[in-house]
Amino acid sequence: ELKVEQNPLFLSMQEGKNYTIYCNYSTTSDRLYWYRQDPGKSLESLFVLLSNGAVKQEGRLMASLDTKARLSTLHITAAVHDLSATYFCAGTYNQGGKLIFGQGTELSVKP
């Protein structure tokens, strides 16, 4: 059974700083997803990582996948207040589209 764990669960950052959110998963995952959720809103798709070594970047966010270590990271560069949100990673299994979510990382970027 696939289990997904994120850390940290809460992250308070200063603007301009860099930080990384970690996503570990317990068994083989076909794909690894990252989502953003603003308070009271639905999930916004950030990245889908399909293979070992995959790296994707969008603005100040960069996601990577190491399938051997069963680890994905979401790196935040020079954080700005607009990045404040909850970030979820999710894995899939059995070649299906069922997503197993991590606990979420609540990110707060302060001036």
């Binding site: 794909r31 997803y33 989502y35 809103k41 639905s42 999930l43 798709s45 889908v48 399909l50 979820f88 999710a90 299906g96 589209g97 069922k98 997503l99 197993i100 979510f101 991590g102 606990q103 979420g104």
Partner: protein
Amino acid sequence: SAVISQKPSRDICQRGTSLTIQCQVDSQVTMMFWYRQQPGQSLTLIATANQGSEATYESGFVIDKFPISRPNLTFSTLTVSNMSPEDSSIYLCSVEQGLSYEQYFGPGTRLTVT
């Protein structure tokens, strides 16, 4: 990307009643998924809805409590039956689209049971 709408966006219901949530997608999709997000928590998959077959439920979720319909490739409903305050959650549908394996979520239905 798929455009997904849900109705209602929110509702307040009395315990013991049922609510049906609708999910509409702007393109045909094979699989639709229903998730629950309890207050302050992550998302948990309730079931997978395929057109033309019975929904597949995850451990801890049963058809009598969460009956699902999937009459065509763009629409699905989830009913929350015999509600209790523990059912207060956000219910979201999602679809997987195309060769990119992107999964998109609807805006969610915020349910409060009193």
